[in-house]
Amino acid sequence: MHEWSIAYSVVKTLTDNFDKKVLKVTLVLPQFSFLDLEILKEAFDELKKENKVTQDAELKIKIAEPIFKCRNCGKEFKLSDVEKQLNEVRSQYGEEYPLHLMPELFPAFLKCPYCGSHDIEAKGQEIYIESVEVEESGAVTRTS
C-alpha cells in the first residue's frame, strides 16, 4: 500500500513544478525497497487523472542497484553480498518491512559483510525523478 504514497509524491512534484503537459516521467527507485511496480503504476495512473499536467503522463521506472561502501574498512559491496541480511529483515517484519517503507534506514538493518560496521553509505538508494518530458507547442522538451 505504501506504493500509493510514492505515486502521490510523483504526481505532486510534477504539478508543483510544471504547468505544461507532462508526457513522460522517469522515476528511479532503490532496488532494496522492493516496491511492487504494478501497484505503483496503477496508483500513478489513477492519481494522474486528477489534473491536466499529469493526465497523459507515462511513468517509466528505473531500478537502481545500489553500491554500498563501508566507511570503516573502506570496502565496497553490492546488494547481493547482503541478500541474506535483507531476507532476514523481510522475514522478521513481513510485507511492510522497514526498508520497504523507509529505504534510508538501510544502515540500521544492513552491515558491512567484511567488518560488521553499520557505518555504510550507498550510491543509488534514493527515490528521485531522473527526467521529465513535457509538451511544448507541439514539440517535446526533456528536463533532467
Binding site: S5, I6, K12, M102, E104, F106, P107, A108, H118, I129
Partner: protein, 232 residues
C-alpha cells in the same frame, strides 16, 4: 527533483505546526510534547523526531507495535485526541543506528510517508542543534517551544538555541520544566530560579504515568492547559 521533500511539505501545508525543542537532553521534552498534544482543543498529530530513542512510544505504552499502512501512508496510532507517529511503529523495539545523512533523510521519510490529517502537528525533537531543526525549517514554518530546567547548565546550553531562533526571526515560547513544588503555601525551587513564559511544577507522580501518559491529569498538565495552550 525530490518527490520525498515535496510530499513531506504537502503533508504539513496549512497546518499549525508546533516544535518542542531544547539544546539540552533530559529536560522533559517528550513528556511536555505528549501533554501539549493531549491538551490541544482538537485532534493533533504528534510526531516523534527522536528517531534513536523513540521515547514518545514508550510514554504512551505502544512499544513493539507495527503501525498499519494504507493507501494514504503509515497510519498513526490513535490515543484519545492524539495521532501518534513514531519510528517505533516501523522498526518496533529495535535499535536504530544511522550515519548523519541518513538521519536527516529518515526524518523526512517519516513525515512524507505518514498519514497526517489533523490541523495541529506537534513535533518532539531530539536534543541538540542538528538535522531535526534543518529538516523542519525546510518543510514548514513552525512555532518553537523551548524546554529548559532552571539549572544554570541547561539555561546556558539552551541560550545557543534561542540565539539561533532569533537569527531566524522566530520567537520561541520558553517553558521552564521542574521549576518548583508547593510545600504548604510556599513555592520551593530546588533547582534554582528562572522565569520563563510558562513555569511548570515538579510532580513526582508523573513517573507512575510512564506508559499511560494519556491518563495523566495532574498539576503539570493543568498548568500546560491554563498557561501554555493559550499562547499557541
Amino acid at each position: 527533483m525530490e518527490p520525498l521533500r515535496e510530499l513531506a511539505k504537502e503533508k504539513l501545508r496549512g497546518k499549525k505546526v508546533i516544535a518542542v525543542m531544547s539544546a539540552k537532553g533530559g529536560v522533559g521534552k517528550s513528556v511536555i510534547s505528549a501533554l501539549i498534544s493531549l491538551s490541544l482543543p482538537s485532534s493533533a498529530t504528534l510526531i516523534d523526531l527522536d528517531i534513536h530513542t523513540m521515547g514518545i512510544a514508550k510514554l504512551f505504552g505502544i512499544e513493539n507495535v507495527s503501525f498499519e499502512v494504507s493507501k494514504e501512508g503509515i497510519e498513526p496510532a490513535k490515543i484519545k485526541n492524539v495521532n501518534l507517529i513514531s519510528l517505533a511503529g516501523v522498526v518496533r523495539d529495535r535499535y536504530v543506528i544511522l550515519p548523519g545523512r541518513n538521519q536527516y533523510n529518515v526524518m523526512k521519510e517519516l513525515i512524507a510517508y505518514s498519514n497526517i490529517k489533523t490541523d495541529y502537528v506537534v513535533f518532539d525533537l531530539p536534543p541538540g542543534l542538528g538535522d531535526e531543526i534543518l529538516v523542519l525549517e525546510e518543510l514548514t514554518d513552525y512555532k518553537p517551544i523551548i524546554i529548559t530546567t532552571p539549572s544554570k547548565v541547561s539555561i546556558k546550553v539552551v541560550k545557543y538555541l534561542i540565539d539561533y531562533l532569533y537569527e531566524k526571526n522566530k520567537k520561541p515560547i520558553m517553558v521552564v520544566n521542574m521549576s518548583y513544588f508547593t510545600c504548604g503555601s510556599e513555592k520551593v525551587k530546588p533547582f534554582g530560579s528562572y522565569e520563563g513564559d510558562v513555569n511548570l511544577p515538579i510532580d513526582p507522580n508523573i513517573e507512575e504515568f510512564i506508559g499511560k501518559i494519556q491518563n495523566y491529569e495532574g498539576e503539570v498538565k493543568k498548568v500546560i492547559e491554563k498557561e501554555l495552550i493559550p499562547l499557541l
